[in-house]
Symmetry: C2
Subunit: 324 residues, 2 copies
């Protein structure tokens, strides 16, 4: 495995990196002044290019459902949201409609002089509250969108975001829902041109991506509330792997889920507890999303975490005074 | 390389295959009765799953721009269009707007009693003609959407479509713009569960996908006008590879393009000629799309092809009569 510092030393930042860094800085400074809570939600999969002129890449399955819906619920809890998502994956609010669904909701009327386009009355009931929330989030500048494609883009954005979040101390949550590739092909092992099929089937040799959770928890945002996700297809491995992760990286919470049941069941694993959050059949049928109770629970745990820190601070201050 | 028949024998069709086949049959029978011309436009990339419970896959880069825009222009030329596209890739008409662009075009007004949502007047000019064309194509049932994800889904849909198109004889165009993977992992070499990173970086051994253009041209739609695409990153290989393809598969036209310049320049390669179709700088700046002249040229060539067949038929009939 490459050391994390070597990874940044050998892979250039994406071309729009400095622009994104300015946006991040402005967004964070504003919300930090307001003493707001803030969450970084990462969402969607990352790609590993197989060639420099990228025609082929390895991808991680992730539509971005978990991240994009969670971002909406964090906004409901008055968190400022940095939504860091894979380009073309689902986004908060717009995720509720595909392109064709939009077009089919619309009526055109032409009275000879002017054309108007309106949303059909029977679609307004569903659409209006979503559109209103979107407009509110944009106008109050409570959400910042940042997109990535490759695992390298992701890593650069992640570190830059942490550099801005560290000032929030325990008011920051990192909700790392993106499906980040474990493997990559180092720059110097990548062919320049498209691999030719005439040369026979290629064998792709991958290398392990350094686990950024280690420097993230220990160095970049040591006071933040960090939540990671574990997706497995094998139930037997799930809890054990979540515990391994917690004891290795020392963060606060792993939300563990199985690919096939992830839409209605997850397991919250902390260093001392593990419990299920799930939707009943009725709740699923009513259209409730599991991200609503997931985010509510994370927010609750985050509040407890801030209170514990506050009490510890008070006690330490108290004891300092007492010992004078 | 696997033989094409073995590929179908060892890979199951996608779960929605029979539904799609019924839709295809109905669509084709209707348009064949009307003696319409028809085009199959394939669009977007295919995936190769790396595991049975798919978490990771190899993907081909393709947003679906070429296919989705070409489908619109074929509709302008009164072709019935089967739009066979990678799920989540760009689609005709809706491709012009992202989700956020839609939301930002809309105004909500609430007069206390009812809520209305309208498209802002300054967006209507751009949006109305696109929406009108979309509605016309849907209402006149000139377009059928079929989606795929993996290379296996694609192969099954491609053959089923050809089975329906063969009745159109030379009135059918196959415009194969999808970026189909050259490689895949056979079912029996695929692990059931997610590859574990603890086991060290995996080595992925790929196999060549059989070239379906061979049975397609020779057996499935022997009378159709078949157009394939070649995308390369190396200019030096481009024309030679296009010629190789034509002499191997005996179809009518290869549209060759370089990844970096594909938005404003392609080369039409036929068995006897090769010439460039490109946009000038002014045309690009005016927002003209290269797919407009590409499709116009393909339609022209298709008409010539039908006329030649017609004349040959007439001559043969004439000579049969003469020899009686």
């Amino acid at each position: 495995m490459t050391h994390w510092e070597d990874f940044y030393n050998t892979h250039l930042p994406p071309t729009d990196f400095e622009d994104n860094r300015s946006l991040l800085k402005e967004f964070c400074e504003r919300h930090n002044k307001l003493k707001n809570r803030i969450v970084l939600v990462t969402s969607g999969g990352t790609t590993i290019p197989l060639e420099h002129n990228t025609v082929r890449f390895v991808d991680n399955f992730s539509a971005g459902t978990r991240g994009s819906s969670s971002a909406e619920y964090f906004l409901d809890h008055n968190y400022a949201v940095i939504f860091m998502y894979r380009q073309k994956s689902l986004e908060p609010f717009t995720r509720h409609f595909t392109g064709q669904q939009f077009f089919d909701m619309l009526d055109i009327t032409d009275n000879g002089q002017s054309t108007t386009i309106t949303v059909k009355p029977d679609s307004v009931d569903v659409f209006a509250p979503i559109l209103a929330k979107y407009k509110h989030a944009r106008e109050s500048q409570m959400i910042l969108y940042m997109s990535f494609t490759s695992v390298v883009d992701y890593m650069w954005l992640l570190r830059a975001t942490c550099e801005c979040l560290t000032a929030f101390e325990d008011r920051a949550v990192l909700y790392l829902a993106a499906a980040v590739s474990d493997f990559y092909i180092p720059q110097d092992k990548m062919p320049t041109h498209k691999i030719q099929s005439g040369e026979g089937p290629p064998t792709i040799s991958l290398q392990l991506v350094p686990k950024m959770l280690a420097p993230l928890v220990n160095l970049w945002v040591p006071h933040a509330y960090v939540v990671s996700f574990k997706l497995e297809t094998d139930e037997n491995l799930l809890i054990a792997k979540a515990r391994d992760s917690l004891s290795k990286y020392k963060h606060k919470l792993v939300i563990a889920n199985i690919l096939q049941t992830r839409k209605h069941r997850v397991v919250f694993v902390t260093p001392t507890t593990s419990y299920e959050v799930h939707l009943s059949r009725e709740q699923s049928l009513q259209g409730l999303e599991i991200e609503e109770p997931i985010v509510a629970d994370v927010v609750l745990k985050h509040s407890e975490f801030i209170n514990i820190n506050f009490n510890t601070d008070q006690r330490q201050r108290g004891s300092v005074v007492a010992s004078k």
